[in-house]
């Protein structure tokens, strides 16, 4: 019982000393894997009319990107470019919870989705 109280106090202490970022990741380390049937490049976060590239790597089929450290934690809309297509393909809205993430891009042709692990 005492240990629970101690743990509780410790958590409370961590909260009120403004140091939850020691416990919670405030950055994301992301690696992208291409499991589609085409070459893809520039995984981006998009907003109406704008984009920010998170992973600039060009990935051939079945290739994995380098690990990129990004300060994006939260819920965002993602898109990726497919080779020989003029516009990017919308992937959907995904939540990045921080920490290490492997993002696998799946699907065929233009119907792509992202699976986060």
């Amino acid at each position: 019982m005492k240990s629970v109280k101690f743990l509780f106090l410790l958590l409370l202490g961590a909260f009120f000393s403004s140091c939850t970022h020691w416990l919670i990741d405030t950055e994301t380390r992301i690696q992208v894997k291409n499991s589609t049937n085409r070459d893809i490049y520039e995984l981006s976060v998009i907003s109406p009319g704008k984009r920010i590239v998170l992973v600039p790597d060009t990935l051939k089929v079945d290739e994995s990107s380098n690990v990129h450290v990004i300060s994006w934690v939260g819920k965002f809309k993602f898109a990726i470019f497919v080779k020989n297509l003029p516009d990017s393909v919308y992937l959907g809205e995904y939540e990045l919870k921080g920490g290490s993430i492997k993002a696998e891009i799946k699907g065929e042709d233009m119907a792509l989705k992202m699976v986060l692990k």
Partner: protein
């Protein structure tokens, strides 16, 4: 206490945490609002009869999902915060000096905004961090026996652009006026008519205890806010309201209970606030000497990025002194003096019966 009970406390504490997201626009719009509130605090703290005022506050939300920033890109986990301090000291700050003319010096500062990491001193300043500062400095001169005080000073705002403002303060007995300027342009005038009799200021206990405190804030010709505070019972229960006279609108109403009229030890408040979309929502809070816990409180809607639907915990302090008595802002009476202790005879265990 059992483990389940702890989890219950946490469940209650963090329930409903996803109801509100600050936006960059709201964070920026907060700056002039805080600049106004800060000078109001100065006006209330620096009174002719008072000697010193000290306040501090840190609003800290422990979970990054509680105040996720909503931008065009999505919702970013992080921390909305508010850190403030206020000091006003006169050359008679211990209340032991002569009762003649006193000079005072004040600094009210605040740092507020949103950062992607939580911090006490040094922010992380990530890509979407937005950290604004508002500071007011001022000098005052007062004669407590004649009940007047004059003051003036500077105010610094840094939001998108940096700007300096300057302000003047004139207080005589129950009337006080404070204009604020940017260069030659008048920003606002705040006029106070505190009719309520205050024992703290040397007024007698009488029917005048039940006169209202009125406050008129003139932002522009077409934007005037009125604040009324009415003692309902024994200067312990108050009914407060804030209204826009132009354009006619309701801002908030509050019922406040101070078990001790010094307002220093405990305050229980229930508020009804009008949101931008015309909804009215109810909330309240409890204020202890070093801690304030509130939910949907009108003050937080006005001073903390229009927050609602979240529990606000503020580590805080606000104490003023006049002579040898202490009180909180706008209080009618001083806190009770320290209870006298009856001296007890020490038991003498070493007594030697033989002597």
């Amino acid at each position: 206490m059992r483990v389940e009970n702890y989890s219950f406390v946490f469940a209650v504490f963090f329930a409903n945490v996803f109801a509100w997201n600050p936006t960059p626009q709201v964070i920026e719009e907060q700056v002039p609002q805080t600049a106004f509130a800060q000078l109001l605090d100065f006006q209330n703290a620096a009174r002719p009869e008072y000697n010193a005022y000290l306040s501090a506050g840190i609003i800290y939300l422990p979970l990054p999902s509680q105040s996720a920033l909503l931008t065009e890109w999505g919702t970013h986990n992080g921390f909305a915060f508010r850190q403030r301090i206020g000091i006003w000291l006169t050359d008679n700050f211990d209340g032991k000096g002569s009762k003649g003319i006193t000079f005072g010096l004040g600094w009210f500062g605040e740092r507020q905004g949103w950062d992607n990491e939580d911090f006490l001193f040094v922010p992380n300043r990530g890509n979407f961090s937005q950290i604004n500062q508002i500071h007011s400095w001022g000098l005052t001169i007062a004669d407590s026996s004649k009940h007047w005080l004059f003051g003036g000073g500077l105010q610094y705002l840094n939001a998108k652009d940096e700007s300096f403002r300057w302000w003047l303060l004139g207080t005589w007995s129950r009337f006080s006026i404070m204009p604020n300027f940017h260069k030659g342009d008048l920003q606002f005038i705040n006029a106070q008519l505190f009719l309520q009799a205050r024992e703290l200021l040397g007024n007698e206990n009488s029917w005048q205890n039940y006169l209202p405190d009125l406050e008129f804030s003139f932002y522009t010709k077409d934007s005037v806010k009125i604040f009324v505070s009415q003692n309902i019972f024994k200067q312990k229960y108050y009914l407060e309201g804030a209204f826009w006279a132009r354009p006619q609108d309701f801002a908030y109403a509050a019922l406040k209970f101070y078990p001790d009229p010094s307002r220093l030890l405990l305050a229980l408040e229930a508020t009804a606030t009008k949101k931008d979309n015309d909804d009215i929502y109810f909330g309240g809070g409890i204020t202890l000497p070093f801690l304030r816990v509130a939910y949907n409180h009108a003050d937080d809607y006005e001073s903390f990025f229009k927050s609602r639907g979240i529990w606000i915990v503020e580590i805080r302090l606000a104490i003023g002194s006049s002579g040898d008595s202490f009180f909180a802002l706008k209080a009618p009476k001083a806190a009770p003096k320290e209870v006298k202790r009856i001296p007890m005879k020490k038991a003498n265990f070493n007594s030697n019966n033989g002597e």
